[in-house]
């Protein structure tokens, strides 16, 4: 992956998408599907973000790409894969015209990609810490990228815990991943649903109730949160109340974005533009901003 595609003559055109083919589709639930993508074009050198590890690792967990869908324009979508994985993944919730069109595309169809954009999760700062991942619904997508990165370099991180909430058992997404993580024994996965259903034996209730059962060590724990705004608000409040420092509570924001380059201003947030100053923020940073998620 790379920031820019180069036009003939060596001119960098920041708006020109790279072609990518859908090589596999995972139907996560009736409203979420994961697209596994294979970039088709020779990708020119990235602007400094390429890691020494080699191949397509020029993006980092928490970053997003602008995805072009035929006749629908572009939308920002978080990368759900880890740079340590061989393939590029986007998990998409059906919410509007563009995402509905993404849900209609078959294997073999192409989309356009620009990016990666945005500030990633500060993985280097999390070395050695216990990581508590808290996600709701599609919010697991960006956290999946972090989790896979942690699992690729287990020696660098402390114990990993995941709290994952869905509306109903049928809405539980990322089943393959959850099963694999659970089986690996390296992630403590705890699931909950808002409304139970016949056959569901797990927890029923909000993810905050799962959180209440945990007793995280506030000094050694960092929390990574992604989900709908009310969940982010509740979880930030609750984790902060357990004594975890606001600098160690990290979340990622969703905004309308059109350029990804810090120009179009759709993602304005006080003096920030979320596409370049975010989307990943610590609670300490958010407290300085006037923001819906903290309402």
């Amino acid at each position: 992956m790379t920031i820019d595609k180069i036009r003939p003559g060596g001119v960098i055109d920041p708006y020109l998408p790279v072609r990518a083919r859908i090589s596999r589709i995972i139907e996560e639930n009736p409203r979420i599907r994961t697209l596994v993508l294979e970039p088709l074009e020779e990708l020119p050198a990235a602007n400094g973000a390429r890691s020494t590890a080699g191949r397509s690792s020029a993006y980092q967990p928490g970053q997003f790409v602008m995805v072009s869908v035929p006749h629908c324009g572009e939308a920002p979508i978080s990368l759900a894969s880890s740079p340590h994985e061989p393939e590029l993944r986007l998990s998409v919730l059906k919410v509007g015209l563009l995402t509905e069109a993404l849900h209609r595309l078959p294997v073999g169809a192409e989309v356009g990609l620009r990016g990666p954009y945005g500030r990633p999760f500060p993985l280097a700062d999390l070395h050695g810490r216990r990581l508590l991942f808290i996600a709701g619904g599609i919010g697991l997508a960006p956290l999946r990228s972090v989790l896979e990165s942690c699992l690729a370099e287990p020696e660098k991180f402390g114990p990993l815990t995941l709290l994952y909430g869905s509306r109903t058992p049928a809405d539980l997404a990322f089943g393959e991943d959850l099963a694999r993580w659970q089986q690996s024994g390296r992630v403590d996965c705890r699931l909950t649903v808002d409304q139970g259903a016949p056959g569901w034996t797990g927890a029923v209730g909000l993810v905050t109730e799962l959180l209440a059962e945990l007793e995280p060590a506030p000094e050694q724990t960092s929390v990574l949160i992604c989900g709908p705004p009310p969940m982010i608000r509740a979880v930030c409040r609750q984790t902060a109340a357990t004594g975890i420092a606001p600098e160690q509570i990290i979340t990622t924001l969703e905004r309308q974005m059109k350029c990804g380059l810090g120009l179009c201003r759709h993602c304005h947030l006080d003096h920030h533009l979320v596409c370049v100053d975010g989307p990943v923020y610590t609670l300490a940073q958010l407290q300085q901003l006037e923001i819906m998620e903290l309402g």
Binding site: Y15, P70, K258, R265
Partner: protein, 345 residues
């Protein structure tokens, strides 16, 4: 600006005719309807620039046009998705008669668009342009540039800066492009004696005194920064705003844009970049329906905070240049001058 020359008023048209051979000449032109706009002058003898009125449009129309064709896209039968940029040519352009507010606006656009090589077309157009500025001896009806330090005279930023002394123009050389003009066509210019330079200062003082109204932009800026606006300001503005987007589109420094696809048929379409406005409800609304900006009350808040608070914090000066184009254009009277007045209450 160091080097100073005189250009006789009589020699202005011949100079422009000379320059028009090398550049696309763009200057304010008054048309049959009495409206004055920046536009190309193909024949500077037949079409004389209008230096008496404020042009309705700013250079934003040229450097960052309302609609820009980014790509044509094509879908092949195998699912392939191809983007092709349209062919573009950018003729070297000389903008003549640019007022200090508009020139400062271009300097602001430079700060937004030039760093980081994020923006191709603006850079291409900007690198191919020369700016000849004209100081304002008399403010226009709605102007308040002095209140935001963007005029009525310009200290730096243009290639050549003109001051109307009556029989002559005082010509100050600014950036390299200006020096190049003097070097190539020296016979149009003669060096300016000291008393003419002093007259420039006199005229500047007179122009500063010529504003018909007091605009306390500094007060609004202070209160925004300290979060001590009188209550109810945003609510009152919101009831007056009619969602036309006009203030943003007329503004020489508003740069919000969007990118949209226009389908032609199943296999073809084009991608455009369009001006957008942060006052529009849909500007921030997300596909799922969440809107991080409260549509009613906060409608104009981002706009005025951006101009008078956030850019002050980021760039050290407000991004309102006091050109007054949005003043009087607002359907309900919710323009920036109205805001400044409310904020100072």
């Amino acid at each position: 600006m160091s080097d100073q020359y005189l250009l006789s008023r009589d020699h202005l048209a011949p100079l422009l005719r000379r320059l028009a051979k090398e550049y696309r000449l763009v200057a304010p032109v008054r048309n049959d309807h009495g409206d004055t706009m920046f536009q190309e002058i193909a024949n500077p003898v037949a079409t004389v620039p209008d230096l008496e009125s404020q042009p309705q449009n700013s250079l934003k129309d040229f450097l960052f046009p309302q609609q820009e064709h980014l790509y044509d896209y094509r879908l092949d039968d195998a699912g392939g998705y191809h983007f092709q940029p349209p062919a573009t040519t950018t003729p070297p352009t000389l903008f003549f008669g640019v007022r200090p507010c508009d020139l400062n606006a271009v300097l602001y656009l430079d700060v937004v668009f030039l760093p980081g090589r994020r923006e191709l077309s603006y850079r291409r157009r900007r690198e191919n342009s020369l700016l000849i500025g004209l100081n304002c001896n008399q403010p226009f009806a709605d102007c308040f540039c002095a209140a935001v330090n963007a005029g009525p005279f310009l200290e730096e930023g243009s290639d050549l800066q003109l001051t109307d002394l009556g029989r002559d123009f005082l010509v100050e050389v600014g950036r390299a492009g200006g020096a190049e003009i003097i070097r190539r066509w020296p016979h149009f210019f003669r060096s300016a004696p000291a008393e003419e330079r002093n007259r420039r200062f006199q005229l500047y003082l007179e122009a500063r005194g010529g504003f018909s109204r007091q605009v306390h932009a500094d007060q609004a800026i202070k209160r925004l920064a300290a979060d001590t606006l009188p209550s109810g300001v945003w609510e009152e503005l919101a009831t007056r705003c009619q969602d036309c987007n006009g203030c943003a589109y007329l503004c020489p420094t508003c740069t919000c844009f969007t990118i949209v696809d226009q389908p032609q048929d199943q296999h073809h379409g084009r991608r455009l970049r369009l001006w957008d406005a942060c006052t529009a409800t849909g500007f921030t609304a997300m596909a799922g329906g969440h809107n991080p900006v409260q549509p009613g009350k906060d409608k104009l808040r981002q706009r005025f905070r951006h101009k008078l608070e956030l850019d002050v914090k980021k760039h050290g000066r407000p991004s309102c240049m006091g050109c007054g184009r949005c003043v009087g254009a607002c359907f309900g009277g919710a323009d920036i001058l109205h805001f400044i007045n409310l904020a100072g209450r």
